[in-house]
Amino acid sequence: MIKAGQIERGVALLIKGQPFVCVDREFVSPGKGSAFVRLKLKNPSTGQILSETMKTQDNAEEITVESRDCQYLYNDGENYHFMLTDTYEQIEVLMENYPDYEFIMKDGETYRCTFWEAQLLEVQIPSKVVFEVAEAEEAIKGDTVQGATKYVITETGLKIKCPIFIKQGEKIRVNTETKEYLERVNS
């Protein structure tokens, strides 16, 4: 058991038999009223988002999660395929249940993952990642408008808006939460 006031981002809870991970929390005390915590919880296996407000003194059922290293192998358009690096066991999960991870995991890269009873809850992707630009439109000659942008596609398939000077084969740093271009990386 855990007090609701102790629930932080990343804490996993069992609600009606389903695992939920806290993705956002905010404390509120309405009027001169008791202290509550407003939680946004996500069920990783269904993608369901649950909004819940608990008294900070309420008990919640915390579940113990396990962290393991997984190598991301590939996706087949429907499932992501991973391999647990310690046992070489392969697992697959439905892509549509993990929309946040679309186009940001690199084939062959190892990520720290959290599991609950063999169920993948979270892939810990760094908040800033360097990607190689796989496809980029040529900048139009003479287009010197300040702040002009174009779309490029990264090695992972992420379509992203960036400045027109970015060329194919170059490396860019991307915010993986907002999926926005941050800067060019000189290699």
Binding site: K32, S34, S51
Partner: protein, 330 residues
């Protein structure tokens, strides 16, 4: 860079306070300064307190408390025949969660207007914001106010008509049907209401203008008057940009009801805090006597840190206060 921002917020605070002082002084409100340390508090079961010790060689030592609001002293002044009064004060609430909107010590503006009712004090607050705001305050933090009742907001954003859910069980059933899993059968109507309000209503309240929420349900106990033949109290709250900034009561002036409020709140405090390290403050059993001939008064409390946040468009309270508590405990 960080310092430049801080200095700007310090300057803005000083300017805003000075504008507000001018506003109330011109209206002949008396600025008062009452103690931060008190030997008794108004019992409020939902607010945790700070206690300290008075020590002396010659007279018995005793416990003193940091005030969670200056209400206890300001009401005493009103009862003694003072005119309308206002005060900027520091308030202290223990166990307060540390986050973007809370600091355990915060600044409050309280004004008590004699012979004013709910609508008068809404008008006064609207005029005050209009005349005192900082330059570059965004239009969403400025009048005109938008006003809706708590029940209209509940109906719009949660689909629940409170007038059809006057008992806790009816409200519990609704909460369950909305999908709230933490709600419990045996809890107060107020707790269930808050779970629904905070999950579905408060985050969706319109943010384009300061919002007055009025007609608070009478099940939420406080020192505001009950409206006659109505399930509501004469209480309003103001939200700016979705953040709760002000709380206002038509002050309860019925001695028996004040006495009853004291008794109920104190018994909850004793029950909940006896086996813990939470402070059980001393209370003044005679406090209700102040209301023997208490005038019609509207009391408004405005969180100054939050008001400043809205006018400067800063979303973290630490951006407008020097030495936030979170820095002290790292």
């Amino acid at each position: 860079m960080k310092n430049i921002d801080k200095i700007k917020s310090v300057k803005n605070r000083s300017l805003l306070y000075s504008n507000i002082r001018n506003f109330f002084n011109q209206k002949d409100y008396l600025e008062v300064e009452t103690p931060s340390l008190s030997s008794t508090l108004i019992p409020e079961a939902t607010i945790d307190n700070f206690a300290t010790q008075f020590v002396s060689e010659f007279i018995p030592s005793r416990e003193l408390y940091l005030i969670p609001s200056p209400e206890i002293f300001m009401k005493q002044l009103i009862s003694e025949g003072y005119p309308s009064i206002y005060q900027f004060s520091k308030c202290f609430r223990n166990s307060e969660q540390i986050g973007k909107q809370h600091n355990i010590e915060f600044s409050m503006l309280e004004y008590y207007s004699i012979n004013m009712d709910e609508q008068d004090s809404i008008d006064l607050t609207e005029e005050m914001l209009l005349k005192t705001h900082l330059e570059n305050t965004p239009s969403w933090a400025l009048p005109p106010f938008r006003k809706i009742s708590v029940n209209e907001a509940m109906k719009t954003y949660s689909g629940i008509d409170l007038e059809k859910c006057q008992n806790q069980y009816q409200l519990y059933e609704k909460a369950i049907s909305l999908g709230l899993s933490s709600v419990v059968k045996k809890e107060s109507w107020e707790s269930t209401f808050n779970r629904i309000f905070l999950t579905y209503v408060e985050p969706n309240l319109p943010k384009d203008k300061p919002l007055i929420l009025d007609n608070y349900p009478k099940q939420i106990d406080c020192l505001a008057t009950n409206k006659t033949n109505s399930p509501y109290k004469s209480r309003w709250e103001m939200y700016i940009g979705g953040l709760e900034v002000a709380n206002c009561y038509d002050e309860l002036k019925d001695m028996d009801k004040v006495k009853e409020f004291y008794r109920k709140e104190y018994s909850i405090i004793i029950r909940e805090r006896s086996n813990s390290n939470r402070v059980i403050p001393d209370i003044n059993d005679e406090f209700y006597k102040l209301f023997n001939a208490f005038p019609q008064t509207s009391g408004v409390a405005i969180g100054m840190d939050r008001l400043l946040m809205s006018q400067m468009q800063i979303d973290n309270i630490e951006g407008v206060i020097l030495f936030p508590f979170s820095d002290m405990i790292i």
